[in-house]
């Protein structure tokens, strides 16, 4: 029978805390950038112009249908040599994860927009609003209500996906965990604690999603 012992992890609290902060930092960046990409791709795909919507559709499909781990590695190793630019591991990781998340966000945003009754933009148009005003004042505020729960769900995925940056040796929570394991040879306790930390961060968010879902269902 394995003897569980978590006490040694107290010595690594500084490392773990810095890992949590890195993970949260990457998450915030990847969510904000991902939402930006998602907004552009989601609205752009609704454009009647093929020149605008085709490339965006291609972007969404490529990033939705390939593994994010491969995207990450590809951004770090292949892209810089293809374009002849220097890219730090952080930049590559944030870019890849944001574009990946953005592809999913864009589908949520596009779906939210097309679920709005066409009478809504029409009434706004009849008042003399411009396309931008209609989006900003009438369509998006209504769509946002419906989109919030799935956007939050996707953001939860974004947080968990940041664990992949550890393959580029970026010091997130999982990477710090690996360091601790190398030093202590106690993977069971270490990874269990790390899982519990993720759980503690995400549980409030999933509870919030549940509450929002029942509210928007009314």
């Amino acid at each position: 029978m394995y003897q569980w012992n978590f006490a040694f992890l107290v010595d690594f609290r500084g490392l773990l805390l810095s890992g949590v902060l890195y993970t949260l930092g990457y998450t915030v960046l990847c969510i904000v950038l991902g939402l930006l990409f998602g907004l552009i791709a989601g609205i752009g795909q609704l454009s009647p112009s093929k020149w605008i919507n085709s490339p965006l559709k291609a972007y969404v499909e490529i990033f939705r249908c390939t593994p994010v781990l491969i995207q990450l590695i590809w951004f770090y190793y292949a892209l810089p040599s293809l374009l002849g630019i220097e890219m730090s591991a952080s930049t590559a990781a944030i870019l890849a994860l944001s574009l990946y998340g953005g592809a999913f966000y864009s589908e949520i945003i596009r779906g939210g927009i097309i679920s709005i009754d066409p009478g809504q933009p029409e009434a706004a148009r009849a008042l003399g609003m411009t396309k931008f005003q209609i989006m900003h004042r009438v369509v998006l505020p209504q769509a946002l209500r419906r989109m919030t729960p799935p956007l939050l769900n996707q953001s939860i995925m974004q947080l968990k996906n940041t664990s992949l940056v550890s393959v580029l040796a970026l010091p997130d929570l999982v990477y710090q965990g690996q360091l601790i394991v190398h030093e202590t040879y106690r993977p069971l306790e270490t990874y269990t604690l790390i899982a519990l930390i993720y759980l503690a961060i995400l549980l409030p968010t999933t509870t919030l999603v549940k509450r929002l879902e029942t509210r928007t269902a009314l």
Partner: protein, 267 residues
Amino acid sequence: MTEAMIEIDGLHKQFGDNVVLKGISMRVAKGTVVALIGSSGSGKSTLLRCINLLTIPDAGSVRVGSHVMTYSGDSTQLPKDREQAAFRANTGMVFQHFNLFPHMTVLHNVMEGMVTVLRKPRAQAEQEAIALLEKVGLRDKAGEFPHCLSGGQKQRVAIARALAMQPQVMLFDEATSALDPELVGEVQAVMRALADDGMTMIIVTHEISFARELADEVVFMGDGVVVESGPAKDVIDNPRQSATRLFLSRFNGKSPGRDESPRVNRC
């Protein structure tokens, strides 16, 4: 009273192979009410939507007040988004299904165009919106959200929202068709008051007796053309064309069945 407020000339519109408007020309004198009647699918909504550019005509011209839009069928010559928006703001539109903004209170529905399009200061817009709500008898509902209102109240808010843009003309597309019978009267009363105020109006309606009473002129549309038009009582009481006679005989002074079952919205 002979000056035309709305002048439509040679309006054409087709959707794919479906030619809906085949060269419509009409004039609406300032301060008069024209009732547009015709069977379902005859192009009444399309004509109204072309007048405020919700639908872009293929050819022809539309003038409302001093604003003119001419279409030649050349898609590269289309007016800019902003020009069209200004044109629309001057042409109030009331829809069958109200289309109030559900995420805004009644007051903010009415203020929205004044603030976003006309760029009036909020305080002024609020004052004007309250005056308009007073006019349609809904001042006490200013703070409610649309889902709390009855259909008749919603439509009156929609009228106030359109009036807030101080349009030179008002277009009504079956404004009472989605209402429970007992709520039709309150909306018609608001329309009547507007007409009495001298507003230039085009109303699409299946309420023939309302058209006869309110409108100065009736235009009967069929198959994408104006079949018959003239003073309301003449056209309705003594139609000259057989198509008009056939259409009117189907009503027998009653309204046709509505295309939607009554819905109850209460808070």
